[in-house]
């Protein structure tokens, strides 16, 4: 085990797609931790969804042995962080475990919104920052301009930044040397009472929860009794160790080290990221700073398409939550969709990740309701109610006023898109805009926006209006007064409860029109006319019809057509199983999904 002088704890931060995971892979390969044969690209992103989308949603850690140019052996602990705004708290805790970061900037795209957001996060944590210019292999790479941007926009030394191609493995040694020479060794006192920061936790079906820690002070050994200072629970340590190609048990973890703890903790949700582990018998005086209780901000109900899959969904959510402490869920019912779960997420990406895992890993076919935020309702009788489920929206007459969560959004883009983005933000009830020009030709636009407007289809729209060049980051800033209504969707006079949503009064009609149109396009015609309406209370604000079909027959059906036609009928039967009956109208799953889809393609 290396002493503190020869240890470095660092993380890599970058705007999405700037090559964070590829650089991590190259560092791992260069240090020879994983044999070439076992190496999968993006080694750290071991959830396949993460691999597929190049998005890290959990922190990972690996110890890299490195013999530096000075001839000495170092132990470099690389902590890979989630790369998305939904997980910014997790990122901040992972960064808190480090002394420094590599800030990766794409040589062809330059500084983006998340580059800045990540930089600020690193600065908040007092980290040493080493800028790295990546993707110099691209034809469109402009290394000198990127150096200038790093110097001018970020206030870092752009000239000293290693220029590399993580993809081709060019100049990786320079990065490792920078880690050794520019990042400080960890501090800490082995003799002080134990303070270990939990920066993530993962579920291992054989060993229970694997807790990722950074030891600030003291020593942690197997056999010791520990306590979570915020959570309060006490456990006995079964094993401690560091991360190599897998988990490698060690006798102890000492101040400055990054490693893992096994202590018979059943569920990941029994640990909380940011909590401090200390000894039960000789506790630290106070926990490490920065702990926050992370609460979900986006809510949606999840229903199985086939009602009898409810039990499977329940088990799947249970298994998922073993490893995902930020996912909350509780039983929910819908007249149209039957039994399901109301789930809370850290953001829209988190929602998508959970949905995809449920569908792919557990083979479930799902319907999700329109995502909602949590509203605060102040009632006439003085009570305050928190509502994120339209089903529990009280009689509007009993509500004095409503509040909704706001965010401050930061959007970076080339100057030419400013008009379109400004308009988009204003359309989404944005206020208090600020504009800065971090470098010529680039604008950072800051807006205060209702979170509800952002979780609807803001990302898609932003991508469209900036042709993919806009980047986005946000933080929640608190609650503000709003004019809230409940929008209902009716099919042949029957309310489809799963399609109800809480929206700002000004958005109600556009939303209703959108929903009505999408339903009209995706509900198959029947032998009778189907009326589709959007309503606030008893006031109809949008309507459309699916006309009855009056002819439904294939013109030709001869000897060569029989098999195909019969199979079509059989497929239709299978499709019927995937439909939900509202009154006498079968509504296909895709109709529910289409209502959720943005109409950017219109």
């Amino acid at each position: 085990m290396a002493d503190r002088e020869h240890t470095r704890n660092f993380s890599i931060i970058a705007h999405i797609d700037h090559g964070k995971s590829t650089l991590a892979d190259r560092l791992i390969q260069t240090c020879g931790v994983v044999g070439e044969r076992d190496f999968k690209d993006q080694y750290l992103d071991n959830l396949y969804l993460e691999r597929e989308r190049g998005i890290t949603i959990k922190s990972q850690a690996i110890t890299l042995p490195y013999r530096a140019a000075d001839g000495q052996e170092y132990e470099l602990n690389l902590i890979d962080t989630p790369g998305h705004v939904d997980f910014s708290y997790e990122v901040s805790r992972a960064l808190d475990s480090c002394e420094g970061v590599l800030l990766v900037v794409d040589a062809s795209q330059g500084v983006e919104a998340q580059t800045l957001a990540n930089l600020y996060l690193a600065l908040e944590n007092d980290l040493e920052i080493v800028p790295v210019i990546n993707k110099i292999d691209l034809v469109s790479a402009d290394v000198e301009a990127t150096r200038a941007q790093i110097t001018d926009d970020l206030g870092l030394d752009g000239d000293a930044a290693p220029a590399i191609s993580a993809k081709d493995g060019t100049n990786i040694e320079a990065v490792l040397e920078a880690v050794v020479n520019q990042l400080p060794p960890p501090g800490g006192d082995d003799q002080a009472p134990l303070k270990a920061l939990i920066f993530d936790a993962q579920y291992d079906p054989y060993r229970g929860t694997v807790i990722f820690v950074r030891i600030r002070d003291g020593v942690l050994r197997a056999g010791q009794s520990i306590r979570f200072m915020h959570g309060g629970a006490q456990y006995k340590v079964e094993e401690v160790g560091v991360f190599g190609a897998g988990r490698q048990p060690t006798p102890a973890l000492v101040a400055g080290q990054v490693g893992y703890v096994l202590a018979g903790v059943k569920r990941v949700s029994d640990t909380r990221v940011g909590d401090t582990i200390t000894h039960a018998d000789k506790p630290a005086a106070e926990p490490l700073p920065g702990f926050r209780d992370v609460k979900p901000v986006v809510f949606s109900s999840i229903y199985p398409v086939a009602t009898d899959d409810y039990q499977e969904l329940a088990e799947a959510l249970d298994k998922l939550s073993l490893n995902d402490a930020s996912l909350t869920y509780q039983k929910d019912t819908s007249q149209a969709l039957g039994f399901g779960f109301r789930c809370g997420f850290l953001g829209l990406l988190h929602l998508e990740v959970v949905q995809e895992r449920l569908e792919r890993e557990f083979g479930l076919s799902l319907i999700l309701t329109v995502p909602s935020v949590r509203y605060k309702l102040h009632l006439v009788d003085g009570q305050t109610l928190e509502v994120e489920n339209p089903a529990y929206y009280p009689d509007p007459a009993s509500i004095e006023r409503a509040e909704e969560p706001f965010i401050r959004a930061s959007i970076m883009m080339p100057e030419r898109y400013i008009g379109a983005v400004m308009q988009l933000c204003l359309d989404r009830r944005g206020t208090n805009s600020r504009m800065t020009y971090p470098s010529p030709g680039r604008v950072e636009l800051s807006f205060e926006l209702p979170l509800a407007e952002v979780i609807y289809d803001f990302y898609d729209k932003l991508k469209t209006v900036t042709q993919g060049y806009g980047s986005f980051d946000y933080e929640v800033i608190g609650y503000r007064d709003t004019d809230l209504v409940k929008l209902d969707i009716l099919v042949n006079g029957e309310k489809v409860d799963a399609l109800s949503s809480l929206v700002h009064r000004d958005s109600a009609r556009p939303r209703a029109l959108h929903a009505v149109k999408k339903l009209k396009d995706s509900i198959p015609r029947q032998q009778f006319k189907i009326a589709i309406q959007g309503a606030i209370g008893s006031t109809i604000i949008a309507r459309s019809n699916v006309s009855a079909f009056r002819k439904d027959v294939t013109a030709k059906c001869y000897g060569g057509d029989v098999s195909r036609k019969r199979k079509l009928l059989e497929k239709q039967k299978a499709g019927k199983k995937r439909m939900k009956l509202v009154g006498n109208v079968p509504i296909p799953q895709k109709a529910f999904l289409s209502v959720l889809q943005s109409d950017t393609d219109d």
Binding site: R550, D552, V553, A555, Y558, G559, G560, L569
Partner: protein, 387 residues
């Protein structure tokens, strides 16, 4: 009835002089060398199938395509002769040939009639020069008229004309004129098809149902109503969704298909049915021939139907015919009374006014024929509910 109708033989001749932009059939452009190989291959295939009918004589033979009439009369006559040699043909057996008006001549028609073909199905499609061109047809309205005259002269007394309606830019008046021109030729049989947009065809990519330049649903329904009246007035009785005939001139080959009958098949892309087994041959000429050469049946797929699937087919097909679904045939396969097994579906069809129950049949109404696809789906649903 105790025995399945048939058996028939379907021979698929895939080549066409050119490909029409609306056509969804297994067809390809004519290549003389490959055509010669195919004729030889078909003869091999027919001989190999000789034992398949266990001594039953053919009731019907149908040459479809493609454009079978573009093949030399001698080649067609040779295949027919071989088939009759192998299986025999029942007295009064129906021998049909699909033909394109542009590929016939007086001499060829005489030769075909002499060879034993007794029913000619002409792909007239339209009599409007603009629409014929839009459909990619190479023949003219006059070619069709000439072909009819020559066929009559050659002794064909069972003629069908294929007509398509619901064409781009066509209004009900134009559709009615087209049909009137066809009826003026006094065919014994007429197949009237609403244009079908195959998703993989140029038409399918170019147009969408009910949208300009295709007629609206209202217009299509008006065309259909007018056509039904005109056909009835001309003495052509409807016996299937798209098929009309003078009494006694219904196409027996197709009728057998719709009643679950047996038919052997030969040729690329041809489908066959024997006693609950359905199969299709490879659609491309090359692989089809290669497979035959290697001594294998050139199957694309073979499926053995469950009794439920066979019954579903009887409903699906029977609900397209004015005769309806023969309940005894369903009962024979199922071993149970279909009036009970399919009770909810049958009741629903009656409620909707799509079908009525007679002592022996479930018979679709005119409205039911117009909704035949939805109607068969009703039977499927109720059937599944019971098992």
């Amino acid at each position: 009835m105790g025995r399945r109708p048939g058996p028939g033989l379907y021979i698929h001749l895939p080549f066409c002089p050119s490909l029409c932009p609306y056509c969804d059939f297994a067809t390809q452009k004519y290549r003389p060398g490959q055509a010669r190989e195919l004729i030889a291959g078909l003869a091999v295939h027919l001989r190999r199938l000789a034992g398949a009918l266990r001594g039953r004589r053919l009731e019907t033979i149908y040459f479809g395509g493609g454009t079978p009439s573009m093949w030399p009369a001698a080649a067609l006559a040779g295949l027919l002769e071989l088939a009759v040699d192998l299986w025999g043909l029942a007295p009064g057996g129906e021998v049909s040939l699909e033909a394109n008006p542009g590929t016939l001549s007086r001499g060829k028609l005489k030769a075909l009639r002499a060879a034993g073909f007794n029913r000619l199905s002409l792909g007239a499609q339209s009599f409007d020069p603009g629409r014929l061109a839009a459909l990619g047809r190479r023949h003219s309205a006059d070619d069709t008229r000439r072909a009819v005259d020559q066929a009559r002269a050659a002794g064909f007394d069972n003629l069908n004309l294929d007509i398509i309606y619901g064409l781009p830019g066509q209004d009900p008046a134009a559709a009615a004129r087209d049909l009137a021109r066809a009826l003026a030729l006094e065919p014994e049989h007429l197949s009237l098809y609403e244009l079908t947009l195959g998703p993989e065809t140029p038409f399918g990519r170019r147009y969408s149902q009910g949208r300009e330049p295709l007629p609206s649903e209202d217009q299509v329904l008006a065309m259909e109503d007018a056509a039904l009246a005109a056909l009835a007035a001309a003495g052509l009785e409807r016996y299937e969704v798209s098929n009309f005939a003078r009494p006694g001139f219904q196409c027996r080959h197709n009728q057998s298909t719709w009643r679950g009958g047996d038919y052997l098949a030969a040729g690329p892309g041809a489908h066959g049915h024997l006693d609950g087994r359905r199969w299709a041959y490879l659609p491309q000429v090359g692989p089809y021939l290669a497979s035959l050469t290697q001594g294998r049946e050139p199957y694309q797929f073979v499926e053995d139907l469950t009794p439920q699937q066979r019954c579903l087919e009887l409903f699906m097909l029977g609900l397209r015919t004015t005769a309806g679904v023969e309940l005894a045939a369903v009962e024979e396969i199922l071993g149970r009374d279909p009036r009970q097994v399919y009770a909810p579906g049958i009741r629903r069809l009656q409620e909707l006014g799509w079908a009525r129950l007679t002592a022996t049949h479930l018979v679709p109404t005119t409205l039911g024929l117009r909704m035949a696809d939805a109607a068969s789906a009703q039977c499927l649903g109720s059937h599944i509910g019971r098992t």
